[in-house]
Every structure is written in structure tokens, then in C-alpha cells.
Symmetry: C2
Subunit: 399 residues, 2 copies
């Protein structure tokens, strides 16, 4: 009889779950500690862990459904936790600057990406998709770096957060537009509906979420129910994420808005419990970015050159575009804002993936965009540390 | 163009993840609060939530791979957290009583289950499988109830925990034996190897784990690495779970041993972070038990009668068997131990599932065993509250 198989069966159905978590989390944390030992950003260690154990190098781990779910949980908790540290009123107060920043941070990178691919002799539609992917911002990376350093309350950091939320909405519309073009027709009425829904929802929650949650939490407190504040927080987190998706905004934006609505209403106990979940799952989000990079796609010199050109353009165009948007804050803050918007992370990859699945982006260009998305993410923490040099944590009162 | 679909696509790939979590967690917590409002055990509310939204009633949620993974995470963190509150040395000190308790708690229920099915006129092999399923103990349920009431440090509670670990090892061997019989041949040499490996591993970790972890944690402290104690704890948790499975013990036993090895070595900060993860995922484990119950399988009166007879026998046989094993502690503690071993939970269901997949257990008997597993789990919290009445939390110094 096949006893060992049976034993495995009984022993909680499967070894896959603990084994996958052990390998991914263990490698991510190991590289994080190593990197920090050498004064490098730990977050990059997490991403490199994904590249190391993923298909690019060792091939121990393939990105599958389970890991994708853990990564999604990770980025949702990351943004929820960031939201918990941000007051909605303060974010609203930088709304105008953030809108200009996000808008310029969409226009400049799009033109840069589109222009370079046209000059490179690529078809119009591939140029448009590359431009759209360069519009993306993965705010999770910046938020993680700033959160770890205790710099989230600086003026520049708030503009980054607000601009990233707006960027997500604009990015969605750009993608819808671009996908429409790829399919040969744009439904402008539907596009407008999506825009209104997404913007309306975001503004509504940002503006009145805190007050509404204040009432809910107070009422729950009167009931005197143990850890119910945490349970309430979780229900709001996932509930608002679901509504976000239906409203056409990313689930992580819902998670961020949920955190923000609770930021003035929950105890530090809730902060601690959320921190536990996020400490466990954020490495899966970061390693997940690395797991999706496949270096073989940009294997030949011609494609590699394009990848590097696009990478440089991606960095410069966001710094220039977003920096211009925040220029009235002075050079230092403008640079911080620009650098903070550089990482494209998982958002850029999703755009490329849609292009690939629509059959309008070829494998090489997909590889170029993924390379750009991962590399901007890897570069960003060091750039951020440099741009925020001299900004003491005590500065948090500066706004 | 299909804009809404595209929007969903971009918006973090999928609404399934937040939606599933929202529905399961939300319903579980809602029923938990409702139950507690009426003085009933909240844990039962969690299980009933699973029955409510699962295939038995509303059919909103089907138990799938993702939910199973969350449930597995939940029970692993539950047992890890329980381990964190238990000193290995104290568990070892009740080792002998626990062994007698576990052994009698295997023998009496097995004979009861086997005997009833034979009297009912069922085939020999189905009687044996039912007996084997009645051997199981789902320590998670008891540990959750006792942990919430702060009663884990009582003498009886420690015996329950130790006996449950031993029960898992014996249960595994019984299942291997029974499956061998079903397939027409038992390999006794392999069975002995499994037994030695499983027992050796468990004793080894229980005996020397704490000292070994003390050294590791101290060394890590000297490196002065932020939240690295939590990271270390996670690596040990999942690492030991993996090794457990390879040694032929359930992953949750590894999780429990990992917690115990760390119980004297980590800060309350780690306790808090672990608590956050467990608060989020334990409801998935509990609701998962309810999700797997399908009442239609025991739809006719004949089968329902058998199910109720088996349920009564399952409760009495564990109380009598385990109570006898702990009788030298006096009637009160013997009763507590007996009641604490009553819930069969997910372990009983796995045994029935193996019988079903081997083709030796018919659907009705499978339904009977699942009913018994779920119902013992639902009854247990109330029985425990009754058996532990008068045991003040301050009693924790009694050992």
C-alpha cells in the first residue's frame, strides 16, 4: 500500500501550502536581511527573491493561483495599512496639486513611451500600449519605503499618495481607451460613465468615509465587543475593495480608502493586528513582482537595448512629469514627488498582459514592459532614499 | 468593446478574492456576534455561517481551493498561537496521563463506531472506517474555546493538548492500518517506520525545541533586526509544518510544536502580530467545517437515525474513554479532559473522505460521518463551558 501518500493525505491534505509559503517567505526575508546588512533597501531583496526562485533563474516556484492570491492579499494589506496612517482631510487638502501631478505624470510618460517605440520602428498599436504601461504607478512600493522610514506624513508623501490614487483612475481610462483602439472602436459614452463612477466613488469615500466610520466604530464600541474593531476593519477593507472593483477602480484603491476612513477612528491595537497580517503577506506581493519577470524574453541585444532605453525614459518621464506638477512646492519636494511615482510594479505588468492577451503586443515588447516595470520598482527605493535624504522623521509636523 | 470586463481585469485581476473573503468573514463574524449576544458560543456562529452560505443551505459559496487554503492557514495559525501559550516542559510533565488518555480515547470510540455499524447491518469495512473517523480529535476547536476564556494553563487543558497531539499520531496509524485493510494488505514494516518517525519527531521537537529556539532567537536579537523575531517565527512555523508532513504528522501539529518551541522565547509583540493573522483566518477554518456539511446526504429517516445514534456514541465514547484515562485527576478534571476531546472537526471528515475515495465507504455513511464530525464540533463549546464552569481564569497558577 502507498502509505506515505496516505500519510500526506491525512496530514492536512497537502504539503504544498506550508512548503510554498516557507520557500517564498523564507527567501524573501533572507535576502531582505542580507540587503539591509549591506545598507541596501530590504524591499529590493524581496523582489530579487522572486526573480531568484522564479522562472528567470532557479525555477523552484511558478507563479500560480495560490501565490497570486497571497500577493493580492499582501498589496491590499499594504495599502490598507498605509491608509491607516493617512488622514483623509490632509489628503484632500493637497488634492489640486496631486491632480496636476497625476495628470502630468500620465501625459509625459505616455508620450515618451509612444515616441520611443515609434522611433524604434514598432507599429502604432504597440507604441500606444507601451505608453499606457508607462502611465502606471505602483504606489505600494513607495508607500512601503516611506512607511518603514516613518516619512508618510511629509507634504511630498501625501501628494504622492493622492496622485497615485488619481493616477489609478486616469490609468484605467487610458487603458480602456487604448484597448478600444486595439479592438477598432471606442465607446465614449461607456468611457465617460466609467470615469464618472470611478471618480465619484473615490471622492465620496475620501470626503465622507472618515465621518461615517467614526459613527460606526462609536456604535460598535457601545456594544463592547472584544476584538470587534478589528473584525469591523476587515469587513470594511474587503467590502470597500469589492465595491471599488465594481466602480471600476482597483481593489487596492478600495483598501487604501478603507484604511484612510478608519485612520482617525481605530485603536493602536487594530494597527498592530493589521501590521501582523501585512508583515506576513507583503513579501508575497514583492516577491511576486520578481516572479513574473522572465529575462529570456529580452534575450537578444536589440530588444535589450530597447528595454534599457525604455527603462531610462520611464524613470525620467515620471520624475519630470510629476516633478513639474509639484514644482510650486520647491525643488526638493518636487523631486521627491517625481521619484515617488517612478515604480510601475504590478500595474505596468497588467497593462502589458492585456496587450498580449488582445494579440496586439508581441512577446518582445511584453518582455520590455515587464523589464521596465520590475526595474523601475527595484530602482525606486534607492532613489527615494536619496530624494528624502535629510528629511528627519521628526519632520512629520511640517505640513 | 467590453469595457466593464476590461475594467475588472485591470482592477487587480479579479473581484473573487475580496468578495469571497468579504462574504465568508462577514457572515462568520456577524453570526459570532449574534450568538454571543444570546450567550451562545461565538465559535458555533462561525461554523453555522459555513453551513448557511455553503451548499447545505444558500449555496452562495462552494468550498474550493482558495477557501481551503485560507482554512488551512487559519487552523495552522490557531494551533501556532495556542502553542505560543504553552510551555513544552509543562506538556511533557503530563505526558504519561496524556498518553493513557489518548490511547483510551482511540480504543473506546473505535469500538463504539465499529460495533454500531455492525449491529446496523453495514459491511465490515464501512464499520472499520466509521470507527477510525470516530478516533479523530480536532484540537483546534477546544483550543480556541479554552484560549478565549484564558483557561489554557489549567491542568486539564494541558492534558487535552498533549493527548490531542498523541491522538493525531495514533489516528494516523489507525487510518493507515484501516486503509491497508481496505486495499487488502497491510505493510507492517512501513507502518512501524511511520510510527517511529512520527513519534520520534514529535518527542524531539517537544523536548529540545524550546532550548534550540532560545539560542536562535538570542542570536537574532544580537543582530538587532527590527521585526525579525516575527519573520523568524513565521519561518519556523511553516518550516516545521513542512517537516511534520514529511514525518507523517499533520501540518497543524508542526504548527503547534513551532509555537511551543517559541513560547518562552518571543516578545508579546510577536504574540500580537500572530494574533492579527489568526483573527483574520481562523473564521475561515471554522466556517470551512460548516461549508463541507451537506445535509442532503443524510436526507432519509433511516440514515438520519444512524447519524444521530453515531453522534451520541461519538460524544459518550470520547468522554468515557478519555475521562477514564485522566480519572486519577479527579472527576472534575477527568470530565473536562473527556469533553475537550469530543470535537472531530476537519480530521474526522478527512478520514471519511479517504474511505469514500478508496470506494469502500458509500455516500450515506460518508454523510453520517461528516454529520458526526460537524455536530460534535458544534456541541463541544457548550459542553466545554459547562465542564469548565467555576474554573476561574485566576486558576492558571494551579499546576
Amino acid at each position: 500500500m502507498d502509505l506515505s501518500h496516505l500519510a500526506l493525505w491525512l496530514a492536512s491534505s497537502d504539503v504544498t501550502l506550508p512548503l510554498t509559503i516557507f520557500v517564498v517567505f523564507g527567501t524573501a526575508k533572507l535576502l531582505e536581511e542580507l540587503f539591509e546588512r549591506f545598507g541596501l533597501p530590504g524591499i529590493v531583496g524581496n523582489i530579487l527573491a522572486g526573480i531568484l526562485i522564479g522562472p528567470s533563474l532557479f525555477g523552484w516556484i511558478q507563479p500560480g493561483e495560490f501565490l497570486t492570491a497571497l500577493a493580492e492579499l499582501g498589496v491590499m494589506f499594504l495599502l490598507f495599512q498605509v491608509g491607516l496612517h493617512v488622514k483623509a482631510s490632509e489628503l484632500m487638502s493637497v488634492g489640486l496639486t496631486a491632480t496636476v501631478t497625476a495628470t502630468l505624470g500620465v501625459i509625459v510618460p505616455f508620450i515618451a513611451g509612444w515616441g520611443i517605440l515609434r522611433l524604434w520602428g514598432e507599429p502604432h498599436i504597440e507604441a500606444i500600449f507601451t505608453g499606457a504601461a508607462m502611465v502606471a504607478t505602483s504606489v505600494g512600493i513607495t508607500a512601503r519605503v516611506l512607511g518603514e522610514k516613518g516619512l508618510l506624513n511629509l507634504q511630498a508623501s501625501k501628494i504622492i499618495l493622492a496622485a497615485a490614487v488619481i493616477d489609478d483612475v486616469i490609468g484605467l481610462l487610458v487603458l480602456a481607451l487604448v484597448s478600444g483602439l486595439a479592438k477598432g472602436g471606442v465607446n465614449y459614452a461607456e468611457l465617460a460613465t466609467t470615469a464618472i463612477l470611478a471618480i465619484g466613488f473615490t471622492v465620496l469615500v475620501a470626503k465622507w468615509g472618515t465621518r461615517a466610520m467614526g459613527r460606526v466604530v462609536k456604535r460598535a464600541e457601545n456594544l463592547n465587543l472584544g476584538e470587534s474593531q478589528f473584525a469591523l476593519a476587515m469587513i470594511l477593507l474587503f467590502g470597500l475593495s469589492v465595491v471599488s472593483v465594481y466602480m471600476g477602480v482597483a481593489a487596492i484603491i478600495g483598501a487604501f480608502l478603507a484604511g484612510m476612513a478608519l485612520s482617525e477612528n481605530v485603536t493602536t491595537r487594530v494597527h498592530d493586528l493589521v501590521f501582523g497580517v501585512s508583515e506576513l503577506f507583503v513579501p508575497f506581493f514583492l516577491a511576486g513582482i520578481g516572479l513574473h519577470m522572465d529575462l529570456t524574453a529580452i534575450g537578444n541585444l536589440h530588444v535589450l537595448t530597447l528595454a534599457i532605453v525604455i527603462l531610462i525614459a520611464a524613470v525620467i518621464s515620471k520624475i519630470v512629469g510629476c516633478g513639474l506638477g509639484a514644482v510650486k512646492l520647491g525643488r526638493t519636494d518636487a523631486l521627491r514627488v517625481g521619484v515617488g511615482m517612478v515604480p510601475r510594479g504590478e500595474v505596468g505588468m497588467v497593462v502589458a498582459q492585456i496587450g498580449l492577451s488582445l494579440g496586439v503586443v508581441k512577446k518582445e515588447i511584453y518582455g520590455v514592459v515587464v523589464f521596465m516595470s520590475v526595474m523601475t520598482t527595484i530602482i525606486a527605493p534607492a532613489l527615494l532614499t536619496w530624494a528624502y535624504r535629510g528629511a528627519a522623521v521628526e519632520d512629520t509636523g511640517e505640513e
